[in-house]
Symmetry: D2
Subunit: 125 residues, 4 copies
């Protein structure tokens, strides 16, 4: 049953900060609203808010945007990390292990010899 198990694995943040996130949710009785769909949707919406900061930005203006909007960008990143932490916690997912497995898969899909200096997708090689 959701949440799937206690989050001994969620290593994206310090254990104490994750505990504070979980306490924040528990005090507001918000776990009832969290499931794979609502958290995935929320992550997508926060990712859209992050993306909004470069919506109309030309390549030549990118660095200036980062400098000027850094506090706002940090907030959007924090929002994504918070939601991702709830999801990872509720799934009982070992992030470190999941990333290691994905990195190994990516290494096979994007061998250095083919991928070096190229932004092509693996199915375009």
């Amino acid at each position: 049953m959701w949440p799937f198990e206690h989050a001994q694995y969620a290593t994206m943040l310090s254990r104490s900060l994750l505990d504070r996130l979980l306490q924040f949710r528990s005090e507001r009785d918000w776990a009832q609203f969290h499931n794979l769909r609502t958290l995935s949707t929320s992550i997508a919406l926060e990712a859209a808010e992050l993306l909004e900061h470069t919506q109309w930005v030309r390549d030549s203006e990118l660095e200036q945007v980062v400098t000027e909007r850094r506090p706002l960008i940090e907030q959007e990143v924090a929002d994504i990390v918070i939601l991702l932490s709830y999801l990872v916690n509720d799934l009982g997912l070992d992030v470190e292990k999941a990333v290691e497995a994905k990195l190994a898969l990516n290494a096979r899909k994007y061998p250095v010899a083919l991928a070096k200096g190229s932004a092509k997708k693996y199915n375009e090689f």
Copy 2:
């Protein structure tokens, strides 16, 4: 200049795994493609892939989807974490501190007395 500083702060993963992500990128000469816009876009696209797993799913089917698709869901989460790790690294962002600040802000926007048991947005109270 992007990347803004070396990532002594990126605590989402172990330092050694982050180093392996950075080495993976460096071996492929991919840092040239990474900036605020391309990484934000990529995070949004991976969030969409995660969201796809519940695209047509009814409330009553959510738990079954998590059980059946767990390996795929873990891969999508890993993709988001990897891209977020590059972004956090390149911004020189202290995730722990950013999340603490956002949590404090959220506590002000969503006081327990108003927010308990409610999925309303703060501007709807």
Copy 3:
């Protein structure tokens, strides 16, 4: 009840093509899966697929991408239009009227004197 009324207003496509879209859906008994959430989610997912075509593209490469990938881009646009047509139909929404109202609102939010040549959002003026 969803769908809210018959779509005498959905003018995004010719009436005959909209009828073929509705017949396509009816033959597959797919209306049961369509509601505000699933259609909004699907539009967001198709928008992500369109966005993927410029994920890593520099300003200077944009025109070349349009030329080379035109057939794929047309398919993604068509996917969005199809889903939007179902949504507009099911909401019984008068697109022409809705766009006219939004255009009037945008004219107030972005007066020529302030907005000319600027990509700023209305709340940044």
Copy 4:
């Protein structure tokens, strides 16, 4: 060169309303900001705003949300249609023809015999 040709094909709206959209853009000198990437990004961002209306909504609450939030939903749909109209115009794309082609493709990918009453993706049959 972008925009690719004059939009004799953009049939999503009446010709006169499309002309007013183009005039709105021209008066503000905004065509300089519009290309495949910025318009795709903007469509994705507006799709996210539409999606936000069902972010935390349970199946049983969906109809109520449509009833209560209809004016806001219509605005979000209008935003997507406006951006899509600019994109279709600038690409010189024949929407009617593109949708017809996609519908024919979908009919091959989702034959009635396999797809009837099923929300599976074509690669899951």
